[in-house]
Every structure is written in C-alpha cells, then in structure tokens.
Amino acid sequence: MAPKRSRHARFLVALILLAGLFRTAPVMARELVTCRYLAASGTRIEIELNVGAPPPATLIVMQNLPPDVSVVETSQPVKKFSQRPGEAKWLLMGIRPGITLLGFTLNKAIRPGQISGEMLYNAPDSGVMVRMPFSP
C-alpha cells in the first residue's frame, strides 16, 4: 500500500507543478517589452528592445556603467539622453511595436560583466509602472 500511496503523491505533485507551469506561462507571455544586449563588451554596446502592442507611450532605458566610463555617442531614436557618473538614461517616445535597437559608444572598452541595465514603462492597460532589469 505504501508504494502505491507514494506513487499517487508523486503523481499529484507532478500534476500541481504542471498546472503551475500552465498558469505562469501566460503571465510571462504578457511582458509587453523585453530587453536584451546584442553587444555588451568593448566600446560599442547594442540593446534590442522587443515591443508588443499596444506599445507604452514612453520608455526609459537606464544603463549602469563603470565610474570612469561615459557615453560618447548614441543612436536614434532617442528623445532624451541623460548622463551622470556611472549612469546613462534614455527617454524613448513614439515607440512602435516590433524591434527597436539602441546603440551607443563608450569612451573606454568594457568587459561583459561590467554593465547592466534597467527598463521602465507604464503598462498601457493598467498604468502600473513596470521596472525590468536586464544584463548580458
């Protein structure tokens, strides 16, 4: 009886885990914007933004940098670029659904582990601010 009961318990646990997977899958699919590095070392950094629909009105991309590194050039579309020691921020507006590339050049070459970023936007349906970190 004991082995049979154990099999039943394992089956139940597996069922619950499976149900949990199905439950979390749509939540993950609902991420409106995803962000990843295409290039995260050297002097040229590339970030890919994958924007769903409807897109947020405004998006902020924040880039953490080593203290002695600064951005010397940045690509379009950038509404506003702001730089402080160890930090660079982009205010992106008028983003369309699909892929948007954000590239910038640094004054010094960096290693992949030296940078990380964060993305912020207000969800169009709820107005709740979404803060999403990303790293190489």
Partner: protein, 320 residues
C-alpha cells in the same frame, strides 16, 4: 338580480316606490302566503322579501312594487308608504340581495365625479409614463463618456495641460459639443484641436467635433498672477449631443487643480521629476504634446538635479 335598484336614478327613469314593509308582512300573513311564493311572483329572493318587510329597504323599483301588489292581490297604493315620497336623494340600496350588513353603505359619488377622478388618474399615469420614457431615452441618448485629466497642482504663471478624452460607444460616430468653463484667475489658452468658440464673459470654451473613437481634446490652462484663487481651482465641463434634445452629460474624471509652487509634473512635490513622474507626464498628457508644454523644461528637470521656486520672480528655475 333583476330587482336591484341602480344606485343613481338616470334621467327619465321612474322614481323608486317607497313601500310599507310592516303592512306587506301583515297582508302576506293575513292571506296565508309564504315569502317564497311572493318572492317567486315578484322574481326576487326570499331574503329580499324579508328585508322589504323589515323596512330595511323601503324603496324598490316601481315594477317590483306592482308585481308585489299583484302577488298580495291588493292595489298597488295599498302597499305604498303613506308618508310623502322622498326627494331625488337616493335611498339605501339594501334592496340588493347581496348586501349582508344592516347598515346602509355610504352613498356612491356622482358619476361625473367618478369620471373626473378616473380621467385625472389616467392623465397622471400617462404623464408619468411619458416622463419615465423620456428619462430613459435621454440616458440612452448619451452613448459617450468624457474624462478629464489634470495635474494635481500647478504654480502660478506656468501653463499646465488639461486633457478631455471622449469615448463613444463602439462603432458609433457621434457629433458633439464639448464645453469647458474655468473660473476667473484661470485662463484657457491654446488648444489641440483649436477651440471652435471661446466666450470671455462666461469663461467658456467649446469644441464642436465628431468622435469616431476615443478622441482627446487638450488645452493649456494657467493661473494668472495677482488674481485671487481658491486653494483648489475647479474645472467644470459637459458634453452635449446636438441631435438629442437636452442630452448632456458632465465631464468626469479630475475636476480640480491645487495652487502650489511646484511644477505640475512633480507629483510628490520633492522639487524633482523622477522616472515615474516623467512617464506619467507622457502617458497621461501625451495627447497634449502638440501644445507648448515646455517639455524641454520637464526633461531638463528630469535629467538634471531638480528645480527651485524663485519666489521673487514667481517662476521655476531648473537646477542643471
């Protein structure tokens, strides 16, 4: 029953005959007749005969009086009461066999009065039905909602955005008039789309437009210097549908802006515009970006070190 008297004698109807019940009883008993016999001859019930004899209903129909006299085999005059007949005032109607009470029922109102009451009741109900129908029709005639967005506060002299988002029912194209009124000391400036009318006396601005989907109407407002203002300046407006008589609905959403020496985008009043605040600016008032919002000042405050209020010059100063 055929022996029932009508409650009210109609014109041309012969007057009721007032009979002497006690005499009728004496005559019947003297001739050895039963109430059943008399009732059968007259065509009424025995209860009716009993009431007649007990003088409970001395007034009966003339034809019944005639039949009663025939049943008793006496001249009709012999069964009539000797007292002078009453005037046109109707007698008790207890001749009706179904009336069980010993007390006479209250006199019924005149027919004309009953007709009047009925007519008044009918008219009242008709008017009520029309009013309810109109109320529902006006409610259903507003297939549009309007929501105003305002910043929580604004300083004197710095324009701030006001947006009104009109949302018609799905699939509908609705012509409408949007009216917005501001109080003295607050001015409504440029608008997107431009105002169709602006009345400086009533301080009311209007758009005449057609909404085919969610549509935003924006304008810049500003608190004038040297003008007394309440701590919370109210904003009032309404939507009117030209096609529907009197179909108006107030603009919902925010309806007041505080007067305070903080930038209108600085919601938490910390003399900075942080990430969340700048996102809110463009999310909430993005439709107003066609206006001169001085967005560069907002972005400079966001990317810089904040701002301060210059009390002497009554203006905000960006700290780079």
């Amino acid at each position: 029953m055929t022996d029932e008297l009508p409650p009210i004698p109609l014109p041309g109807t012969p007057p009721a005959a007032r009979i002497d019940g006690e005499k009728i009883r004496r005559l019947r008993e003297g001739k050895g007749l039963t109430q059943l016999y008399v009732a059968t001859v007259v065509g009424v019930t025995t209860d009716t005969i009993s009431r007649w004899e007990n003088r409970r209903s001395p007034s009966i129909k003339p034809e019944n009086a005639k039949k009663l006299a025939e049943a008793l085999d006496v001249p009709m005059a012999e069964i009539l009461e000797q007292a002078p007949p009453p005037t046109a005032e109707p007698e008790e109607t207890a001749e009706t066999p179904e009336a069980p009470s010993a007390l006479p029922p209250p006199p019924a109102p005149p027919r004309s009065r009953r007709l009047g009451i009925g007519l008044a009741l009918f008219l009242t109900m008709t008017i009520a039905a029309i009013a309810i129908s109109w109320w529902f029709s006006t409610r259903q005639a507003m297939p549009v909602t309007a929501v105003r967005a305002l910043p929580p506060h604004a300083p004197i002299g710095l324009p701030f955005p006001v947006t009104i988002t009109v949302t018609p029912s799905p699939g509908k194209s609705i012509p409408l008039i949007i009216s917005e009124t501001v109080i003295p000391g607050c001015s409504a400036m440029e608008a997107v789309p431009p105002f169709n009318a602006a009345n400086t006396e009533t301080r009311t601005v209007r758009w005449i437009a057609k909404a085919e989907g969610p549509t935003t109407f924006s304008y810049l407002a500003m608190f004038k210097p040297d003008t007394p203002l309440p701590p919370l300046v109210p904003f009032r407006g309404r939507i009117t549908l030209p096609g529907a008589k009197g179909a108006t609905t107030p603009i919902g959403g925010a309806n007041g802006v505080g007067v305070a020496p903080y930038h209108w985008a600085d919601r938490n009043r910390d003399f900075k515009i942080d990430d969340e605040e700048i996102l809110t600016v463009y999310d909430t008032f993005g439709a107003a970006t066609g206006l001169n919002l001085e967005a560069s000042m907002i972005e400079d405050i966001w990317s810089g070190h904040g701002y301060r209020w210059d009390a002497a010059r009554r203006q905000l100063v960006v700290i780079p």
